[in-house]
């Protein structure tokens, strides 16, 4: 057990779909925070093998269908994680459903024995997302039957050299070291097995690892089940803030209170695309101390989000009114739920007869699940429970036949009910897997139809295989909040008041305290793949001692220094991450086996005076030289030799010796 703490950032992440990945070492334990997949990298694969172009590959020019890799997709994990010995990981903390998509690779590895903690809701949604991925991947394989017996050719260097620079960078990473992160997908059994191995936590449930680390998951607001963590060991506290949203339209909001006044706050989200817009905005804010409620209950941010959703809804209804269909390949549960919510109150939509299909293997179960998890939905939705209404309106849409969930595009039931125009929600937003691929090909030349995608997905690469020249479909690209806005990071820190805040390097100079009251927060920055050693705190560990034991203490008062000291001996137990010393009933309170210790140089005249009190006579010999000697002549002859750090007592009888010492 040590009080040293180290942080290594293995991946800076790419927003909601692939959260960052960190390793934290504290208390002698190794904690992995999140184990994501980089699903945006799927775009390097062609959705359809062959079919487009003429096989003429060119590394120059814009990426088009011909530049993509025609092979069974592999999946990109955090490459540097493979450099870690899996058996050295003690604890894995998962902070969102997306943060566990790469976990089956880890849990199936030989030697993996870490304890994985994840909220019950994130585990459920995570498993559904994994199954979704596995089944869509299987569908892809079944359609195009690849020969999987050999090492994929695209991974050979000659092949990689032929790729266009953006694709190459996606595959190898900026520094060219990420090829090792690519893996063939795990199986459904791996996913099932992975979720069986995790320990599922209720909301803000305290859990204890090895009697030493106390951990607690608190809502981060970014998704149902997504959380920030607090970790406590021997009285030291750490807050781990992951991608958070203060006020969410569907999930329980950011839990601020429990993150306050920690020794260390680790902020894991780097600057990225959704921050860019706000960079110029205003980082400066007025110097009055920020208030929690104004930060969390940000009406302007919420109305912005609402406006955005309203606008998308109006675009959707306009498209369907014109006879076009709408394709919404979005994987974010929150966006789907809020769009459905918005559509269910939109009169243009409710008065029309346009059906909505939600097509994915996990769709039906995911929708059903969102209505039985009141503990993890936002306060407005919780009120629905208390008034006896369904948490989300989609239950009514399903009942009314407006919304239907199907496992796959080719399920016979869907084929029977299929109507156009329609609105289709489906994965996968990279436009490589699932129903999005055939539907996009079907509708892409219809000028009335609409594609709604998220900002941040490189549209050019995503749409590359779909014959952009003939693309007439409207494209609506929107960015949705998935993390704390840049301008709010500083006020957040001011509210949370950690002693030390550790931030990603790219936030340097972006966090500026203007309030003098906040200058007590020290800031430190970490960079990718470099182990950052946190300055060790000057405070010492906290410890509890049972009152039984304290009552057995034999205090000695040291006059010179106003100190009282006592020996302490007991059984140490870890209780809730805090050491507690209990008395040992089987041991006598004072134990002769421990050598006594003496401190300071005896003051000779005082020693002599003390001895005289006891009936011992003696004289001091030698005034200033060392050693100084006390000659004792009554009751027996004895010598006391005093040096700076040691004294030597010489006396013929044991009794006298004892008295002097």
């Amino acid at each position: 057990m040590t009080t040293v703490m180290e942080l290594t950032c293995l991946s800076r992440g790419k927003g909601y779909y692939s959260p960052p990945c960190h390793v934290l070492r504290l208390g002698g334990f190794t904690l992995l925070v999140d184990c994501p997949l980089d699903l945006s990298s799927l775009s390097v694969f062609a959705p359809v093998p062959g079919g487009f172009g003429n096989g003429d590959r060119s590394a120059e020019g814009p990426v088009d269908a011909t530049g993509l890799i025609r092979a069974e997709p592999w999946y990109k994990t955090v490459a540097t994680l493979h450099l870690w010995d899996v058996s050295s990981i003690d604890v894995v903390l998962i902070s969102s459903p997306m943060g566990m998509l790469g976990l089956p690779f880890l849990t199936r590895a030989d030697g993996f024995s870490a304890k994985v903690y994840v909220t019950e809701a994130a585990a459920k949604l995570g498993l559904l997302a994994m199954n979704d991925l596995v089944l869509q991947h299987r569908e892809f394989r079944e359609f195009y039957s690849f020969d999987d017996s050999r090492f994929p050719r695209w991974m050979e260097w000659e092949e990689l050299e032929c790729l266009s620079p953006p694709l190459k960078e996606t595959i190898l990473g900026v520094e060219g070291i990420e090829l090792g992160g690519w893996m063939p997908l795990y199986s459904a059994a791996d996913a099932e097995d992975c979720v069986k191995k995790v320990q599922k936590l209720r909301y803000a449930e305290e859990t204890c690892y090895n009697g030493t680390l106390m951990m607690k998951a608190l809502s981060s607001g970014s998704e149902i089940g997504a959380c920030n963590w607090t970790i406590e060991w021997i009285g030291r506290t750490v807050a781990l803030v992951t991608g958070s949203i203060f006020s969410s339209g569907h999930a329980l909001g950011f839990d601020c209170q429990a993150l306050q006044s920690k020794d260390v706050l680790v902020y894991s989200e780097s600057l990225s695309i959704d921050h860019v817009g706000s960079t110029e905005d205003d980082i400066t804010h007025d110097s009055s101390p920020p208030r929690l409620d104004s930060l969390v209950d940000d009406a302007s941010a919420r109305s912005e989000e609402e406006e955005r959703l309203n606008f998308i809804c109006s675009c959707i209804t306009r498209a369907t009114e014109a006879g076009g269909s709408v394709l919404i390949p979005i994987g974010r549960l929150g966006i789907i739920l809020q769009l459905l919510e918005q559509l269910s109150v939109c009169s243009e939509f409710t008065s029309s007869k346009v059906p909505m299909y939600i097509i994915s293997p996990a769709a039906a179960e995911t929708l059903a699940y969102t209505n039985v998890i009141p503990e993890w939905v936002c306060k407005q939705r919780q009120e629905k429970l208390f008034s006896g209404e369904p948490l989300f309106a989609h239950q009514e849409l399903v009942k009314g036949g407006r919304l239907r969930a199907y496992p796959a595009l080719y399920s016979p039931e869907l084929l029977r009910n299929w109507q156009e125009p329609c609105i289709v929600f489906c994965p996968h937003w990279s436009l490589r897997l699932g129903p999005a691929v055939p539907l996009l090909r079907r509708w892409h030349s219809d000028p009335n139809s609409l594609l709604v995608t998220e900002e941040g997905v490189d549209a050019q690469i995503a749409l590359a295989p779909f014959n952009i020249a003939e693309m007439k479909m409207k494209v609506l690209r929107y960015s949705f909040l998935s993390r704390i806005e840049l301008k709010k990071i500083t006020p957040l820190l001011e509210i949370l008041q950690p002693k030390l805040a550790v931030l990603p390097e790219d936030l340097k100079e972006k966090v500026l305290f203007l309030n003098t009251s906040s200058t007590s927060i020290s800031l430190a920055y970490y960079s990718l793949n470099e182990t950052f050693r946190l300055p060790s705190s000057k405070d010492s560990s906290k410890i509890d001692i049972s009152s039984d034991l304290v009552s057995q203490f034999q205090w000695k008062i040291l006059k010179e220094s106003n100190f009282s000291i006592s020996r302490l001996k007991g059984n140490l137990v870890m209780r809730n991450g805090r050491p507690l010393i209990l008395s040992r009933d089987e041991l006598p309170p004072s134990d002769n086996n421990i050598p006594l210790m003496h401190f300071g140089t005896p003051d000779l005249p005082r020693l002599l005076a003390r001895l005289t009190e006891m009936g011992i006579r003696g004289t001091i010999q030698g005034e200033s030289e060392c050693p100084r000697i006390v000659l004792i002549d009554y009751p027996e002859k004895a010598v006391i030799e005093v040096r700076k750090n040691s004294s030597c007592i010489s006396a013929p009888s044991e009794r006298l010796r004892c008295t002097i010492s």
Binding site: E206, N562, V639, C648
Partner: protein
């Protein structure tokens, strides 16, 4: 530091549960129930004992409600809306969702049937429930600076929880009602092994030990089946929630299996609406029910329909669930008046009925007539089936829980006095835990755990946390290696003035005190006889001595003299000295030795031995010295 436990309700009775516990100065009200057996002021706990001034918000840190039964939540709207408490209130999500249904049902029965003036209005219920903060199971909630509460699954009814409350180092658990065995829709109570000063537990079935639930369920189903087969009507009086859903699941399942077509009805108070809540709260049911929902929500009852008052005297068999349970009034009493006179009908009764209700009268003996009031008398000819499976734990379950938690003290509430006395005796005799069962308005005061806070140095923490594994030898086959990890911490506790204590490793003491360690050594130089043949003459003549002064031979000779010492095997032999532990003996070559006390004249027949040691080895040193003193040293004959 103390814990005070003031029982305002459910002391030596069942009804109006309300216990106010003060832990190290923090005050929590557990449950705020009403007594169904009284109509006067005795129906509510005597709140004036909490605060004579009536400022309840200042007097309490929070209220915790364990579950939605009226004997636990019934007085809450009265307390918040009429008495004016406005502090925080905590309950689980299901309890917050379902309590208003129970309260509203009760209010309606009181006003419509009894024509009584209402104690609280629908608006009261609504505004009271707005103040409630819902909590999840195991969620740790911090209230103020040092009060922490946490809910644990209690079984009993949907959302029922036991609550753990902790202030500083003192901790208690208040169980509310709980069930230690799973039932049709709920799991068994579950709690961590906590360190507790006090456990406050219900004791409804303080002396009953029940057998298998399965046979009891079968008896119920058989009785119902027989009745409807004979064309009779079955009245199942229940409260709107809990038992109704449990029995309904049981019947729905049985109807399905037996392919029965007899209608099953829910009366108006028991709306299908209630099932809606159950569907949303399915995560709070048992694991088995939870797992089945992916395909079909088990609270979507297939065979259940709504009942209308006009159908009371319709011909033909049926099963009817009607509120309230215990037949204390309302629709269940109305139906009872109509159906009781016929032998072919059946009325089921819950396992427990409060005194004063029709249910209670039916349970006590086999009455043929029941006087409702001066003018109304009911002929009772129908069959009575008492449900013997109950959502409460039995005596064995209570004992198991007490044993599992091993608190320092137990307080029994929610039971009958004589049975509580028996259980108290059992807990004290079998578990050695002191136990109390105060009556209403009595207070029990107990000491609370208090740990002394100290800071610890890194060196100390590291030294105490390194495992001290002791190998205990090979044992059985399934556990071949046995180890004991007995971590003993040794250190020094330092206090400066009145500051917080600091625990450090012994080695750090000197730097902390800004004083160097001062070693106290003991030394003694004493003469030993040399044998006459080998008088000390300096170097043996003519030979190169094996070592300067021939001391090595003298040392070996000394060693021989210690051969009978118990520490002989531990003696280390140096060139001119012997050492055992800290005791070091060497041949003293000095003319004037400061440690030679008394006559220091050198004599040829004497060799001086200098001994040094530290205080811990005093005894050993004296033993060695006395042995050496009696030795006669010899030098091996040199070649001369």
């Amino acid at each position: 530091m103390a814990i005070e436990c003031l029982v305002l309700g459910a002391g030596q009775e069942v009804g109006k549960s309300c216990v106010v516990v003060t832990i190290n100065g923090r005050r929590i009200m557990f449950d705020c129930g009403m007594h169904m057996g009284y109509l006067d002021r005795r129906r509510y706990p005597d709140f004036s004992r909490i605060s004579p001034s009536g400022d309840f918000t200042a007097a309490l840190d929070c209220i915790i409600i364990t579950h939605f039964h009226l004997d636990h939540v019934g007085a809450l709207p009265y307390f918040t809306e009429v008495c004016g408490y406005s502090g925080p209130i905590y309950m689980t999500y299901p309890t917050k969702a379902l309590s208003p249904l129970m309260l509203e049902d009760y209010r309606r029965v009181m006003v419509e049937r009894r024509g009584e003036e209402e104690q609280f209005t629908s608006e009261h219920i609504a505004s009271c429930m707005k103040k409630v903060v819902p909590v999840d199971l195991k969620q740790t909630v911090q209230i103020g600076s040092d009060l922490f509460i946490r809910a644990y699954y209690a079984g009993h009814v949907l959302g029922a929880a036991m609550f753990h409350a902790k202030v500083g180092d003192a901790a208690i658990v208040y169980t509310g009602d709980y069930n230690m065995t799973p039932d049709r829709h709920l799991g068994a109570a579950q709690i961590d092994r906590l360190q507790l000063d006090l456990l406050i537990t219900e004791s409804t079935y303080a002396t009953t030990v029940r057998d298998s639930r399965y046979t009891r369920e079968r008896e119920f189903l058989t009785a119902v089946h027989k009745c409807v087969e004979g064309g009779g009507k079955v009245l199942i009086p229940t409260f709107a929630l809990g038992r109704a859903q449990e029995l309904c699941m049981l019947l729905d399942d049985y109807w399905e299996r037996m392919n029965l077509k007899v209608p099953v009805y829910f009366s108006a108070g028991l709306t299908i609406q209630a099932n809606m809540y159950y569907k949303m709260l399915i995560n709070w049911t048992s694991q088995k029910v939870k797992e089945s929902y992916a395909t079909r929500n088990p609270f979507d009852f297939k065979n259940v329909r709504n009942f209308d008052r006009s159908m009371i005297n319709d011909p033909g068999p049926c099963v009817l669930f009607a509120t309230p349970g215990m037949i204390s009034g309302g629709f269940s009493l109305e139906v009872f008046k109509n159906w009781a006179p016929s032998e072919s009908n059946l009325v089921t009764l819950p396992g427990y009925c409060v005194a004063g209700t029709v249910g209670h009268k039916l349970m006590s003996g086999k009455p043929t007539k029941i006087d409702l009031d001066k003018d109304t008398q009911i002929d009772v000819r129908c069959q009575i089936h008492q449900l013997s499976f109950s959502p409460h734990t039995d005596a064995k379950g209570i004992m198991d829980l007490v044993k599992f938690l091993s608190p320092k003290h137990v307080v029994l509430v929610h039971g009958e006095k004589p049975k509580m006395a028996t259980l108290k005796g059992k807990i004290e005799a079998e578990l050695g835990i002191s136990c109390y069962y105060p009556a209403n308005n009595e207070m029990v005061t107990l000491p609370s755990t208090h740990f002394i806070k100290a800071s610890a140095s890194d060196v100390f923490v590291r030294s105490s946390l390194c495992p001290n594994l002791q190998f205990l030898g090979k044992n059985t086959d399934d556990n071949p290696w046995q180890f004991k990890d007995d971590r003993v911490s040794q250190g020094v506790c330092v206090m400066k003035g009145n500051e917080e204590g600091r625990v450090i490793h012994q080695g750090e003491l000197s730097s902390l005190l800004r004083q160097e360690a001062h070693d106290v050594k003991f030394a003694f130089c004493f003469p030993v006889q040399l044998s006459s043949e080998n008088r000390w003459t300096g170097h043996p003549p003519g030979e190169t001595p094996p070592c300067p002064s021939g001391t090595c031979s003298l040392v070996l000779s000394l060693l021989a003299g210690l051969s009978s010492s118990p520490v002989q095997e531990k003696i280390q032999v140096g060139e001119a000295s012997l050492q055992v532990e800290s005791v070091r003996a060497s041949i003293c070559a000095r003319e004037q030795c400061p440690y030679r006390v008394g006559d220091s004249q050198r004599k040829p027949e004497l060799v001086y031995v200098c001994c040094e040691w530290t205080s811990k080895d005093s005894e050993l040193a004296w033993d060695v010295i006395s042995r050496m003193k009696s030795v006669v040293l010899t030098l091996p004959c040199s070649d001369s």
